[in-house]
């Protein structure tokens, strides 16, 4: 009984912390948002590992896809809503989406369990993703790729990126936004 209460308390504290970090992040605090996503990825990994135990090589891809979805859809979170409900609904949606889209293919290909287990055994925490988002990113059109590269990867400000590329500031912002959406669409296409 005490153990259960203890777990409940830890869970509540954890949710409270994540909620606080996300609220700060939505207000524009990038470092709080970074911590939120980092904590979240660990939770998502545990969640998906438990549910994809017979295909562990899909876990990291799904973690990444879900992180991207959380980021792209973060405007649908209302701060007075329980974070667990929002997060669980997204994770579940992405999991079902993966299982559904692979249901047809599964019957066709024989899973290479033996060989994969060798690599799986060397995994400690975060496994390598099968799908390389960096490659998908490189395939985006310049008007999306350049803003993401300069603002998101090199850490330039929107103003600096605009000066460097000759694009307008709003084009930079739109490019980042649409580029990350396009990335999510490509992931769905590549499943």
């Amino acid at each position: 009984m005490e153990r259960i209460q203890d777990r409940d308390v830890r869970f509540a504290v954890q949710e409270h912390l994540l909620h606080m970090l996300l609220v700060l992040g939505l207000a524009g605090d990038a470092s709080a948002y970074h911590r939120f996503l980092k904590e979240l990825s660990a939770h998502l990994r545990a969640y998906f590992r438990k549910r994809l135990f017979h295909r562990p090589d899909d876990v990291e891809d799904l973690v990444q896809e879900t992180l991207l979805a959380v980021h792209n859809q973060r405007h649908t979170y209302r701060t007075d809503q329980p974070l667990t409900a929002w997060m669980h609904a997204i994770a579940r949606y992405k999991l079902i989406d993966l299982l559904r889209s692979n249901a047809g293919r599964e019957a066709l290909t024989e899973p290479l369990d033996d060989e994969l287990e060798v690599f799986a055994a060397s995994d400690t925490d975060a496994a390598d993703a099968k799908r390389d988002l960096g490659k998908l990113l490189a395939g985006l059109p310049d008007r999306q790729r350049l803003p993401i590269m300069h603002v998101k990867l090199e850490g330039l400000s929107v103003v600096e990126a605009a000066q460097l590329t000759g694009m307008s500031e709003s084009a930079i912002k739109i490019g980042v936004h649409r580029g990350l959406k396009a990335l999510a669409t490509q992931i769905r296409g590549s499943l």
């Binding site: 939505l26 990444q64 649908t76 997060m87 603002v151």
Partner: protein, 213 residues
Amino acid sequence: MKTDELVSLLAAGAAPVPANTVGHRFAAALGWGIPGAVLLLTGTFGLRADLLQAAGELTFWMKLVFAGGLAIAALFAAERLARPGVRVGRGWAALAAPVLALWLYSAVVLLQSAPAQRAALVLGSTWNSCPFNIAMISLPLFAATFWAMKGLAPTRLALAGASAGLLAGALATLVYALHCPESAAPFMAVWYVLGIAIPTVAGALLGQRVLRW
């Protein structure tokens, strides 16, 4: 790309997110969907000639209350279905209420009228065009509500699509009432409801394909 790198990428320079973007998105959708539907109505069917006179009749206002009530309930449901982990809850009852009230009232009207008049009360003079007219008027609204839903995060796609279609259908009925010459409740109970059902079903079917994210 490793997951930690993705986290850094997503967090870098993350701009503030304005509050209540879901509400604003639906407001924007209705802001050009409703004028679009009114334009379509005036450009095709036109307003009913006796609109001013009709505005003094109870049945005209009954139409507006029915369609308006349904639209408000549909907007409530759509706004909730657009956000992950939010239940529609009592919203389902709010959706059913306008339709059930209309059906109940129509049943009373039919029972109180002479048997020979009943068919005329149900069929009116435009029964074979009314549902399709409503569906047509709903097209600009349908595009608008789907655009709104597409930019959000529904996790139950068929229901979310249906709610967007229902919202479009109910608002289209509101607009169509400016043209429709019918004045009997039993007519509305069948053909208006059928007209609203067309975009609703279309929304459910389309939602499963179009609303994925």
